[in-house]
Symmetry: C2
Subunit: 595 residues, 2 copies
């Protein structure tokens, strides 16, 4: 069975939950009334399902090929598909009109990006990282740099990468050694080795623009001495076309558990010509512009792989005949019942739906706040939206990828022995999604970002604003009989999250290890509460439709899945709260050599 884009659910979220038409007077949204957006979503679904999904298993089996002349060939069919991607203008959806983009809100681009990742995660990373490079230059580049690079990156004609990691430094970028030597003409010579560079070399685009972190000779040690550079594979000539080959070479590819179709490169910079982006020693600040965007993109990958894996599992469960229902045959004419009759198979499918549908809503809802933070005329709205973006980003990345792995593992489990073979897609989804818990900052780093930076920022303004928003929802809808379980579940989760937040404020300062020890459980508690809020918002819309006479089972099903979430997923909140409040004492008690 092939990937079925969840077009209906995307339209439901954008039209009914977020009601994007209310922002019709904002830039970007003005060009995207819901009827136009619906068409874009339909077309996104067609393109990703018809062009990208058929190449997913191919890419996994074949992988990328490295050649001694430092070139890399992507799997069969990727080049043609990439040409169609560029031809269709897909990379330009969310880019600025000034640079050839369509200027649509980020939240609409997210819809395409999810489908792209579901259909073929390894492929989707090529345009994904290109968009990251685009964002970094947009945020920190000179006007000349923007004019030269952004149109090429926006269209996808050129690819982009992020060159951060070195063999001895991943999370701790302060240790990086790649050096930049200033030249008379204002450029720099960049030298050093970067590893794990996704899309560092490939045959999809005529040029590749590397965004490289390096230390200018004489710069301070640590994170305060890191600068960001543009290092194109081919130096643009006077007409802006790919000219002389620059000194940046792919020396090999990484063998990986998954995403085989994406080239993970060792990159050697050998006196490569680079140009500074922004000011000296301010490289991390700009890199984090693209990093934050990338983190939301990674959270999206968690949900995207979960969606694809769930679909494969549901199809298998309806098709595979094995055993009989405990309550009597459901397929009496056949030799056995389809395994979807078994409650434990249902459990995994329902768990998956409960996470995917609310997780997607949470992603879109947060991304829309990003758009509002960018373009809303009201300063107060912009501030609250910006607060939410900052607060929710680590939760989206850490919580949704963690849950995404669980969904993919359950999908494999539903396939039984078939799932462990590579003849079915389940193994690939689980192997591919596994990286999402690691890159762009491991989930542990996300949790620490949440408890260490995001909670405390501006005196806790962001989280208090979130609590107030939930309180207002509870106050407004607590009397509705259908909504009652949702409101009660949400309120109980919020009380637990407040309790955990208070514990962190009291104990995290006294001993920072308490904050570290609590961080992952707190992030999960936060994610559970956020998804409870999303289900409450979904239920409100669904119930309103039903009350107005809409008999489409789509809405009734939402109420069932949402109530299932409350009964079968949300109980984990209490467990996470109990764990986080146990502190760091026992966790840190053993000496390192006892491990």
């Amino acid at each position: 069975m092939t990937y079925q884009p969840p077009v209906r659910d995307h339209i439901f979220i954008l039209a009914d939950i977020l009601n994007i038409d209310q922002y019709g007077d904002l830039p970007g949204f003005a060009d995207a009334p819901m009827d136009v957006v619906s068409q874009i979503i339909e077309e996104s679904g067609k393109f990703t399902a018809e062009v990208l999904a058929p190449l997913n298993a191919v890419g996994d089996k074949e992988g990328c090929h490295w050649f001694p002349d430092h070139t890399v060939a992507t799997p069969k069919g990727f080049k043609e598909a990439y040409a169609q991607l560029v031809e269709g203008g897909w990379p330009a959806l969310g880019a600025e009109p000034a640079y050839g983009g369509q200027g649509l809100p980020h939240v609409i681009n997210l819809s395409f990006t999810e489908m792209c990742s579901s259909a073929n995660m390894a492929f989707g990373m090529y345009p994904g990282l290109t968009h990251g490079a685009y964002s970094a230059i947009l945020a920190g580049g000179t006007q000349d740099q923007k004019d030269l690079y952004l149109p090429k990156l926006a269209s996808g004609q050129w690819g982009g990468t992020m060159n951060l990691t070195e063999p001895h430094c991943g999370t701790d970028l302060g240790l990086l050694r790649t050096k930049a030597v200033p030249q008379a003409d204002g450029s720099y010579k960049i030298s050093g080795t970067k590893i794990w560079i996704s899309g560092g070399e490939h045959d999809l685009a005529e040029n590749i623009v590397h965004l490289v972190l390096a230390r200018i000779e004489g710069a301070p040690e640590g994170v305060r001495g890191i600068s960001l550079f543009i290092v194109p594979k081919f130096l643009p000539d006077s007409e802006g076309k790919p000219g002389a080959r620059n000194g940046v070479y792919c020396d090999g590819l990484e063998e990986k558990m998954g995403i085989h179709g994406n080239a993970t490169c060792v990159m050697r910079h050998e006196e490569a010509t680079g140009w500074l982006v922004g000011t000296e020693n301010q490289g991390l600040r700009i890199m984090f512009v693209m990093m934050n965007e990338a983190r939301i993109g990674v959270g999206l990958q968690g949900i995207a792989q979960a969606e694809a894996a769930y679909q494969a599992a549901a199809a298998f469960a309806k098709d595979r005949l094995q055993g009989r229902s405990l309550t009597g045959p459901k397929n009496p004419e056949g030799p056995a019942d389809p395994i979807i009759v078994h409650p434990d198979v249902r459990r995994m499918l329902m768990d998956s739906r409960a996470i995917i549908e609310a997780g997607r809503t949470f992603l879109f809802w947060t991304a829309m706040h990003g758009d509002l933070a960018h373009s809303h005329p009201d300063e107060a709205v912009r501030q609250k939206a910006g607060d939410y973006m900052a607060l929710m980003t680590p939760v989206l990345k850490g919580y949704l990828t963690d849950r995404g792995l669980k969904v993919c593992s359950d999908a494999l489990q539903i396939h039984g022995g078939s799932g462990f073979t590579e003849h079915f897609p389940a193994s690939q989804y689980m192997r591919d999604v596994r990286i999402s818990l690691i890159y762009e900052g491991t989930n542990g780093v996300q949790a620490l970002d949440l408890v260490g930076r995001k909670l405390a920022a501006d005196g806790g303004r962001a989280v208090m604003s979130f609590f107030a928003e939930i309180d207002a929802f509870v106050a407004a809808h607590g009397e509705d009989l259908i909504l009652k379980p949702f409101v009660e579940g949400l309120d109980a989760a919020k009380v637990q999250l407040q309790d955990g937040t208070m514990w962190l404020m009291q104990n995290g300062l006294a001993n920072p290890d308490n904050a570290g020890a609590a961080s992952t459980d707190y992030m999960h508690l936060f994610g559970l509460t956020a998804l409870a809020y999303m289900w409450a918002k979904i239920a409100l819309v669904a119930q309103t439709k039903i009350a107005a006479g809409d008999t489409d089972p789509f809405f009734a099903n939402k109420l069932v899945i949402g109530r299932y979430y409350l009964q079968r997923i949300l109980p984990d909140a209490a467990s996470h709260l109990a764990k986080l409040k146990s502190g760091s004492e026992l966790m840190m008690a053993l000496p390192a050599d006892a491990f």
Copy 2:
């Protein structure tokens, strides 16, 4: 870093927790006083670490090779290692002296089996399945069959397999179609296709003995018409040596997510000569003798892979320098601290230890009950031990493999980006362990076996006996100050497990879907309680040693890890109880076509 056999922990469990010397007057145990057992464990560690562990990555990368003449070559080095295994007499450890075995208790064989699986899971499956075939013939074969086959299987000179699954039937064996036609000489002609046959063909042993489920012509449909047959690859000649080639052929190998070093075969039986084991149509009963043993072996694989993955992660965490401790530099001379200083890394390591050490104890404790059920002179002891074996087997298989996957995934996570590459062992451990949640009955099947059969058997005698044993422990040790948290945690878990058991009794009969819907959460609640009991037993021994003046940190560390289990793992019990009591209504509410 290479695998370090947990010799000390194995000796601790056998000598101090199980105190096997108390059974010195029982057969098997009589030949295994603790000083001898300690030597066996030391030697097991040497053999597995020195001979098998170095081939683990080799086997993963190279995999097995199938040739058109239906032969299969195992990865480089496997053949020589297998010869050393046979030479060393390792397969014979637990076999009967009458058939050339050493007749040691199963619990001691388990120690070797765990190390074998940690060092090289794919390799360990070859002797593992051979032992399964041995057990089936021992349980159901004629004396002639035993005399002919058991010595060869016990020594490992011949390999063994289980041929159950067919393309259209895995869990539901009642659907199987492989047919057996009686011959004048008392043999049968077996024809049909079997899939996913581990070790179905290889170059390690001079003959392979397949235990094959098939339906005798005219037998009833469903599970009541299934018989078990011995189908050797080479028909034994008059001297019992491999003679004529039998009609059983490997037609190909499965491409799998992991255990690449084990040949997973498609087996074609083409009028293969087979001999009935036991009586007609009673094949499943005998097959379940080996299946139950195999299920404990699979639970052991969960812990074995967890142990190996944990070791790799701990070594990486002590070696990798990245960032600084939140409480000030711990490695001020170096460029950064080792990542083991970070609480969230510790969390994953401590979670792993808390599961592995109690999980291993639970496995050994249950296996020892298997030995007592077999050979204790007191009928009451045998009965209780047999009850425990039956009750705990699905919990060991389902709960410990599920937790084993989590530990392996956490170990990969601790490696960061390195974990996703195939240069480090973490990916292989996670890919290899994944099958353990599936084969020998998926974990969902285990959960259903637990709630549907094992709980209700003999009026719930087994589970009530377990509750009584815990109550006695609580009563005996509730006043000890050091043991208090263990006793309180155990008692609270037991109360929750009783609550869940009661709920099942009241609601599972009324609607069988309620039992199915509750089954996996109940199995986890059971596993959590069992491990709380193991930690209480471990704490009792450790505290007794400490009180007697033993200053070995091994014992103090056990108390720390045990208390960590209570604070950081056991809170999940309440969550599982809440979920299981929510019933099946919402889980089963959607029509199948809504998925």
